[in-house]
Amino acid sequence: MSDPILSVQGLVKHYEKDRSAVERLLGKPRMVVHAVNKVDLDVGRGETLGLIGESGCGKSTLGRTVLRLHEPTAGTIRFDGADITTLEPKALMLLRSRMQIVFQDPYASLNPRKTVREIVGMPLLIQGMKDTAQRDDRVHAMLRRVGLRDDQFGRYPHQFSGGQRQRIGIARALISHPELVVCDEPVSALDVSIKAQILELLSELKSELGLTYLFISHDIAVVAHLADRIAVMYLGEIVEVGPAREVMQAPRHPYTRALMSAVPRVEALGRRQRIVLKGDLPSPINPPSGCKFHTRCPAAMPRCATQAPTALSMNADATHLAACLLYDASARASGAPEAGTAAARFSQKEPS
């Protein structure tokens, strides 16, 4: 990527589970939740990077950690070339006007005791725009842009429907003219017809304001529609990343393949043969050894249980990466099942 607006290297976010005093006295070991594990990711200026994965895979934690809403445990975050990993609060506050977030839950993310005008004006007030009239001008223009009527500006969040509240959340994120917007499941709580309206609004605003989106969603069809590139997360790690079209049409990682085949399709009509993964997502407290997907992987080999895969290039210009031992040349050298045969065995299970 020539000019990434956001560049993340080796990002780690661990949470320690609380132990009670008794548990500590009894010497119960520390329980660490590995939410995000050594993630490398670039977001190019002006692109939409879709981040997909099941709930609990760490995609929201990643989205919030890059904005420093959560403090990273290790790794570096560079925004527009500058290292912001350890930026102190005051500087961070000023930087926040350039990076914003739209939250998933339009019910919980708006203060019920403030009017829409106050909610959307708050970022400007924090950035130091003290003049009320000047602030209201900006706020009103933004609220009109996202599709609210003038007589609604003084209302409270509970007087709006879910779709309208998400419009308010978008207005609040965009009021300070950010460059990067993290959209954390912005349409997951919405109905089909309302979802489409919000997606349309987000694409219009992106081209009007020249935004960059990090778009987090578990809805693969939505991400496929919006994203230029797609990153797939599993248990805190990025297992595949590449141009949206390639990841959708020719997924390389077994997890991505299973995920794609599990999405119900309107065109399908009748039950398709699909890769149904067995079991649930393992706990991020004691993640599996080696490749974290090996416990559910239909193409797992013995070495997957011990050796952690590294990201390997899947195309000529190295824009498509997958972290899977199936494509690891050294696997063949060490006498493990031929990678080619393993891949062939796996591809038989693809939907026809």
Binding site: E54, S55, S161, G163, D191, V192, S193, I194, K195, A196, Q197, L199, E200, H218, I220, A221, V222, A224, H225, A244, R245, M248, A258, L259, M260, S261, A262, V263, P264, R265, V266, E267, A268, L269, G270, R271, R272, Q273, R274, I275, V276, L277, K278, D280, L281, P298, K349
Partner: protein
């Protein structure tokens, strides 16, 4: 059980679909069903004039957005409507028995035994203070004739054995030990399985699954849908699948009923409704979905919002958002049956291409 290498899935044959659509053997028949709720602001006609048939052994999809009346329709069928709500008119015929006038004891004997419903949110539907075993055995002790006729001492043992069997049937690992756990100890997909196990404990003829996969991830959704489809095939029951996901309907259901604002807008064989939607709402719904096959295709949202149903006037309920509306639409519009097994509630439907 549902591994990747299971044989190719069963695609319902055109003949089977046609025979089901063309009458066949009806297990559940709704005619003119209306359910209202009295509120301080006025009467909400949550379900109005719903006609639909569920055939024996078929999977019927009910699609609609929130507030379209899908859940209330089937809560009415199950006799679960409590004041201030009430069924104001219409009939519900289950296997020839009229349910709207059935006495409560007779309804209790039927509900859970011959027809069962799974609720959308498994965590709130299951009792958090009772073990899974207690909740599963409760149904078996109430309804399973094989168990009920046993001497009292053997009943509990037998019910437990049946509970273990059901847990295994829905694919919960180590059912013996997991039976003694509480709902919060299970993951979302597992909870949904437990609800399905409870619903299927008495081998009902009709399973109503209300948004069984909405709260689940796609890979877990695939597991639960496969499970329901496998059980339908092996037990020969009818399934009503309530969902807002047309993709799920396309893959699972023989026929589909599209609901909007409390009314049936369109119904017919799934393949035909999706390929050639006749009602403007169905068309709008399909056009507003991002498609995985063609991600770059533009999506066209339906403008506006679902109207408030409080004191809703007698007119087409989709009027405010419709791109084909005319003055004639401001009258009460009935559901019209077409000879090809489809039905639409529209004065100006899309005609065949």
């Amino acid at each position: 059980m549902m591994g990747a290498d299971s044989p190719a899935a069963t695609v319902p044959s055109q003949a089977a679909v046609a025979s089901r659509a063309g009458g066949g053997d009806v297990i559940l028949r709704l005619r003119g069903l209306s359910t209202s709720f009295s509120t301080h602001d006025g009467v909400v006609k949550a379900v109005q004039d719903v006609d639909l048939d569920v055939m024996r052994g078929e999977c019927l999809g009910i699609v609609g957005e929130s507030g379209s009346g899908k859940s209330v329709t089937f809560a009415s069928v199950m006799g679960l409507i409590k004041p201030p709500g009430r069924i104001t008119s219409g009939s519900v015929l289950f296997d020839g028995v009229e349910l709207t006038t059935l006495a409560p004891p007779a309804m209790r004997a039927l509900r859970g035994k011959r027809m069962a419903m799974t609720m959308q949110d498994a965590l709130t539907a299951l009792n958090p203070s009772m073990t899974v075993e207690t909740q599963l055995c409760e149904v078996i002790l109430a309804h399973d004739d094989e168990v009920v006729k046993l001497p009292r001492r053997q009943r509990m043992t037998q019910a437990r054995a049946r509970a273990v069997e059901m847990m295994a049937l829905v694919g919960i690992p180590s059912p013996q030990s997991r039976l003694r756990e509480y709902p919060h100890q299970f993951s979302g997909g597992m909870r949904q399985r437990i609800m399905i196990a409870i619903a299927l404990a008495c081998k009902p003829q009709l399973l109503i699954a209300d948004e069984p996969t909405t709260a689940l991830d796609v890979t877990i959704q695939a597991q639960v849908l496969e499970l329901i489809a496998d059980l339908r095939a092996s037990l020969g029951m009818s399934v009503v699948l309530i969902t807002h996901d047309l993709g799920v309907v396309a893959e699972q259901c023989d026929r589909v009923v599209v609901m909007y604002a409390g009314q049936v807008m369109e119904s017919g064989p799934t393949a035909e409704v999706i390929a050639h939607p006749r009602h403007p709402y169905t068309r709008g719904l399909l056009a507003s979905m991002p498609r995985l096959e063609d991600p770059t295709a533009p999506i066209r949202p339906i403008q506006g919002m679902v109207p408030s149903l409080i004191n809703f006037p007698s007119q087409c309920r989709f009027y405010s958002r419709c791109d084909r509306r005319q003055d004639a639409c401001l009258a009460n519009i009935g559901l019209r049956q077409h000879p090809d097994g489809r039905a639409t509630r529209c004065l100006f439907p899309e005609t065949a291409p």
